[in-house]
Structure formats: structure tokens, C-alpha cells
Assembly symmetry: C2
Homo-oligomer: 257 residues x 2
Amino acid sequence: MKKDPIQIARAKNRAFSQSEREAVYRAIFERRDVRRNFLPHPIPSHVVRRLLMAAHHAGSVGFMQPWDFIVIQQRATKRDVKQLFIDANERAIQQYRGTKAALYRELKLEGIEEAPLNLCVTCTRQRGGPHVLGRATIRDTDIYSTCCAIQNLWLAARVEGIGVGWVSILDYDALKRLLGIPRSIKVVAYLCLGYVEAFASQPDLEQAGWRQRLALEQLVHYERWGNRAESMGKHDIVDGSGRVEGIGFSDGRQYRK
Amino acid sequence: MKKDPIQIARAKNRAFSQSEREAVYRAIFERRDVRRNFLPHPIPSHVVRRLLMAAHHAGSVGFMQPWDFIVIQQRATKRDVKQLFIDANERAIQQYRGTKAALYRELKLEGIEEAPLNLCVTCTRQRGGPHVLGRATIRDTDIYSTCCAIQNLWLAARVEGIGVGWVSILDYDALKRLLGIPRSIKVVAYLCLGYVEAFASQPDLEQAGWRQRLALEQLVHYERWGNRAESMGKHDIVDGSGRVEGIGFSDGRQYRK
């Protein structure tokens, strides 16, 4: 009787066990954008190094590895960055009116000073020379690679019990002047990191009723844009509920849309 | 005697166990950009659904969830996309001369037709209306979110034994016409997915001698751009070897720069 090729491949690959698979899905589903309740306890340097190494092992266009990491721990630096947030947020609030504006003001959108460690992630666009393999057609693939590195760090932080918050309400040009980042280098993210008491079961904005999570089936197309699951009958990848099936968490946890 | 706050936090968070932590780091370090040796065996729809759900659980600016996924399985569609790659690659080769050009020609840069499943990931920039929370200052944060979703999918695929290859050598405007994607929507990635015989121990481009992995310490700055580890003495996060320490894999595996 012929063996299932997937089983053969799994064996050759030292396949991930069920519990290893669950751990990775758990990290993915339980990762949160954290802006509150950071513990003051510093992150040990060997742990920070693991997080940065996780980021550094993302794939990158042409193996360009365009990222750099500025590790910020001094109060004075954080205070200056916090001021940049306050300035940018004042302008952002003006976009909203009425109840939305009121709700916006209640939201906690950053943890710059509370977090023991801040991290500025940049993209050095010239790294690897003028002709980076795979980048001729889409120049921004270096930025895409840097974002993949950030997601690696975010997931590694989650399994370490460290919350990460991405602060995008900042004038990055002002931030570059503050941190002495050369003009030619792009700031991709400013992150706040620290151990936390707990991770929220839902994203903050979902919990606050700002927006709801979309059903996966609304986001999946087949062969061409606009061809919906319905048209594919039993081959549909997404069921009506948009629910994940078949992860089979040992403890019965289920992650719905 | 006072308890370590990190231990308390870990307990409250149902902390990841050592083996769960290792599984996530393993997925991060063993993920590869796969362009060859895809098995013809189709990916079951419930597995594809898990991968898409992993992507859908990335964080997104203002909880915008700007991503869409076009699942491509038909030979005819793949053949047309492969032709787009051939056209774009012909132009890309012209950038190189001599030995680099010869090496480039030897590289396998896509697995569009061999992979049983192709996936086009897009970013709908208008989703969530004109004023997406956190996006006023950096408009491209929606694209950054989409890249984070792709990394989630990439890691989930790795633990399923599925290889993922990102094809960036494509004219995305031509791809949009081919897949009927509206002008206003941005293509972020075209991915090739399939079960594989094995995952390479190193990135293809590193193995081929195209580029080497950079030492982490070259990429880490302290407080300000250009302040290197050396200046921080014993607080250095990265040691001279750029090696990860303290992950303590049970089986003694070590991941070096």
C-alpha cells in the first residue's frame, strides 16, 4: 500500500508535532497590540537578543536583510518620543466628530513611557547595492521584508510573555531627527515592549466597539477577484461561519472568525 | 519573600511552556522561502482555511483588516502568471553582468506552476473609511499590516509542512488585469504554496553564495542611530558572535547568526 506523500514529507522534515503546531497557532491567535499594564521589570538583555534574532530570521527580498533596530531604554528619550505622539495625536483627533471623537479620546493608543523598552525598526533601502535580487519590479519589497521581521518579533515576544505595541501616531521625520537616523533610512515601526500582567482575549479596538473582526469568507476569492466561496461548492475553503476547523486544540479551545 | 513579577505575570497569562516557546522559535528559524520540490498533492481545504485564518489574525492599523486573499488552483491561471514572471525576469536579468549574471540564471526564483496552490494577497486601502485610526500619520500602515498577515501565514504553513515562496518578480499591474483586481486595490504578494519533501537548512540565496547573513550586532543601535553595542558595556544585548543565547532548546539545537 502506497504511503501518503504528505506523511513521507512530514517524516523527512522532522515534522512539527501536534503540540508544536498548536503552540504556533496559539501565539498567532493570542498575539495582541499592547498599550497598557506594562510591568516596570526590565527585559533581560538575552531575551531582547532572542526577540531581535527572531526578527532577523525573517525572509527578505534578495536576502537583503534591510532592517536595523534602535533599542531605547532611557527615560529622557522616551519622554521626547511621547511628546511627538501627543503632537501627532492632537492632529489625529481632529478627524473625528461626536461619539467617535469621544470614544477616540478614551482609547489608550501607546505605552511609550510605561514600557521598559522601546524599539525603532528601520529599513535601509540601499543595503545590498542598487540591484537587489527580486526587487527590480517592486521597490518596496524591502519594506515588506522589514514588516515580516516585525511580525516574527511580535510572535516571539508573545511566547516570552512580553507585550508589544506598535505606535504609528508619530511624525516619523521628527522621530528620525530625535534619534539621529540618516535621511536616507526609512522608519517602519516604533514599538513599545514590556512584560504584561495579562493579554486581552480580543484586540482592544474590537473590545471597545471601534470595529468588529470581519468574517474570513468575505476576504477570500477563488481564481479571480470577486469569485466567492459559494461558487466553489464543496471545495470551499471557508465555511459560512468563517470559523477555523481542524486545528484540534487538545484543550478544545476554538478560535472563531 | 517577594515573588518575581515576571513569574506572577506568566502564571496569570497561562504562560507558554518551554516546549511551546521552542516550537515558535523553531518555526521562525526554520521557515524558508520555497521555490522548488513542491509535492503535487493538493493542500486540503481545511488546512488552507487554517493558514488564511492565521493571516487574518495579524494585527492591523485601526483594526482595519485590509487584506484579501485570491486562492488560485487552476493550471490555466498559473500558466498565465508564470508567463508574467518570465517577462519580468527577462528584464531583471539585464541588471547583472559576468559571474553574477551567470549565477542569477542558475537560481530557481519561483514555483508558480509546480506549487498546487498560489495565493495573491492584496490590500484594500479604502477599507474602514477615510479616517482609519492610527493611519493619519503613516498612510502605508495598511500595507505594513498586510505584510504581518503574510508572515503569520508563512509561519503557520511551516508547521503544517507546507513551503511558501514569495514571487516578487512580476508586473503587479499586469497581474491585476489577469486576476480582475480593481485598480484601487494594491497587490502586496503573490505566493506559491505546497507540501515539500524537505526544508533547506539555509536560505537558498545564502546557500548559493549570493549573499551572507549579516551579524545581528551590525544591526543593533542603542538610544540613537550609530550608538553600537560596544558603548553599552555589560548591558549589551548582542554579543560579538551575534549568536542567540538562552533559548535553551531541549535537543541542544543552536541557531547562529
